[in-house]
Symmetry: C2
Subunit: 390 residues, 2 copies
């Protein structure tokens, strides 16, 4: 599994092994999700992701991630109501978004706004489970409102207030576009949100756990996670996939592009994953939505290009375990839904906030400060040479 093991001599001259990027290193136990990277299985608290995608909603899945069990009918209704009642964010936070430069990066705006949200929590220094569950619900409910406001701010449009009679996913699309989405669009986004809600110790979730492990606070952990998710080696990849498709431009140029990337040992965006060495189960579900949306919109080009890239990659590097990951088909799904490319990674955050908050709460229940070791392979006891003698 961990093929990047390096051997090094430590400070006392002892040979020790270490794994770059902590690949395969167990950082902690977690009851939230589990991944079998060889078989391509993802479970949320034991339930296969396919089951949840087929039968659950984002609201129910979020309840499940936070509370470790599926809600009964009344519990789910109450939870949905709680989320709805927290969709409004403080006016000061909307003013904050209005005060930011309109051309700033959407993830930078989200990171700063989430950090700013902490300034308006009168109990922000209290880390009880109850307070953090309240905060989690508030953050999960607020993220769509904040992301939609950022998107509208960036395109010079007035903010759209949340609507109480729409689902979490439908209301997000409503606040982004200013009109309620079709039932199908809301359904597709709902499933996409379920699929992205948690994924073990991915870099942003691990970030959140590292930050909270000093007994800091939820806002510190979540704003840090947003900053981590932004990177192209993590959540930023879905936007990069779309850029790649646009750069290639047409179906007949796919073969040349992919073969050239492979020959020059460059990454093909949306392929390969630290944990999966087979097909990412989330990509399988998203590819079906991409296909249906392609047919519905009559614009099959982007889906066909994606399939072609997948075929070539399977032929060329499938034996090496390099397969499409979640970002590969989410890109065209969001594109077909008419969502701006700059929204792709923020939408990832709108979903992953459920997992992040569940992990923060879990970490606090059995906390130990994350404080690994660095090996210094340089000279020691170097003298301080006075400035005149340098």
């Amino acid at each position: 599994m961990a093929d990047k093991v390096r051997e090094i001599f430590d400070e006392s001259g002892q040979a020790i092994e270490f794994r770059e990027g902590l690949e395969g290193v167990v950082a902690a136990l977690s009851m939230i999700s589990s991944i079998d990277g060889e078989k391509g299985i993802l479970l949320y608290r034991g339930i296969p992701i396919e089951e949840l995608a087929a039968h659950s909603t984002f609201e129910e899945t979020t309840y499940f991630l936070l509370n470790s069990r599926l809600p009964k009918q009344q519990e789910l209704r109450d939870f949905e109501q709680q989320l709805k009642s927290h969709r409004q964010v403080p006016a000061a936070v909307l003013d904050l978004i209005r005060s930011f430069p309109a051309n700033a990066n959407a993830m930078d705006l989200l990171r700063t706004t989430v950090s700013g949200l902490g300034l308006y929590d009168p109990d922000s220094q209290t880390n009880t489970v109850e307070k953090n569950i309240e905060r989690a619900i508030n953050l999960i409910a607020s993220f769509p409102t904040i992301v939609a406001a950022i998107q509208r701010r960036r395109s010079g449009k007035e903010f759209v207030a949340p609507q109480q009679d729409l689902s979490h996913a439908a209301n997000f699309l409503y606040m982004v576009n200013g009109e309620a989405p079709s039932e199908y669009a809301a359904k597709v986004l709902d499933v996409a949100l379920i699929l992205h809600a948690d994924h073990g110790f991915n870099a942003s979730t691990f970030t959140a756990r590292v930050v909270i492990s000093s007994l800091s606070d939820m806002y510190s952990a979540i704003s840090a996670a947003v900053g981590s998710l932004k990177g192209p080696l993590h959540g930023g990849a879905n936007s990069e996939v779309m850029s790649t498709l646009q750069e290639i431009g047409s179906l007949d140029k796919v073969e040349e592009y992919v073969m050239n990337r492979l020959a020059t040992k460059q990454k093909v965006m949306g392929f390969g994953h630290r944990v999966y060495h087979t097909y990412d189960p989330r990509a399988r579900i998203l590819s079906q939505f991409s296909q249906k949306l392609a047919q519905q919109t009559g614009n099959t080009k982007w889906y066909e290009m994606s399939r072609k890239i997948e075929e070539i990659m399977r032929r060329e590097v499938g034996s090496k375990g390099i397969y499409p990951n979640v970002d590969f088909y989410s890109a065209t799904v969001y594109y077909y839904m008419g969502l701006d490319q700059d929204l792709f990674t923020p939408i990832f955050a709108v979903s992953r906030i459920s997992g992040w908050t569940a992990h923060v709460i879990e970490q606090l229940q059995n906390n130990r400060l994350f404080r690994p070791r660095a090996i210094y392979p340089g000279p020691k006891n170097v003298p301080y040479v006075p400035i005149n003698d340098r």
Copy 2:
């Protein structure tokens, strides 16, 4: 070294060991600092911390951390000039601080302001070494201005603009207090800044490296590090030490307090460290400053209480390797300097920003995404029970 090793069965039923909090686990190589926790030795790029504390300045040490070698005279003058020329922060960022609630936590304000700073960097998405060194210098130069502005905002005072003819440490005290400090106060702070500038993969530095490892950006990494530093198991400890001294109240109550904490197996703030199992070399230097400041101010009580706590702890748990850490004496040093307790942890950040930025740049030069493994010890393939049947 790693006494918290746990054994667990992984997903495939194999017994594996893991270390809680990644204690003793090598996360990467680093040429920036090295710690010998058994002997109590801290080196910055090979030079013992005592040498730097005795002969260097924060500006020179920062140059050294960023550039891997001590500067020549002209290089140091140029670097000092560069830092001075970046002391001003954008007016929009000062307005941002003014717009925040005055009663917010100082570290929450710092985290949000640093995140906001990224919105005003027109190249914030460019991760070249040159750009990141520029950004590092700008952040290091801006931190005192931002922290001082936050402090004055919280106490309802007008901001004080930076002064060009003062050193980094002296100018910070000037901006906080509205008057230039004594030469001795500036010297003490300068040494404290040197001592806190780097310390291997402490939680906030590790946070910064995890965040940048997705190829995110400097502001994401640094705002995340601020959020991590805030926690009482990390930088927040220096403020907690002062709270402890005030809670005890007088020298004659020290014995009872400490013995009671030990008997009830509670932490004594400022004691013990993940890496040091002997006297923290930084605490040794700071204790001398605390003693001198106690004499100078004629208010020896807090220093004497600290010594007494140290004596009792040495007698009771010294054999277990529990000794004063850097936070234990920095608390009284800052207190004797008349600094507000809420400034203690932000001052840590004013120093550690040098190490954080050096680590971000180092991480990018040999990057691998930090993505460890979680072990899920729960049931698998749990069925999704329809809501009516729950």
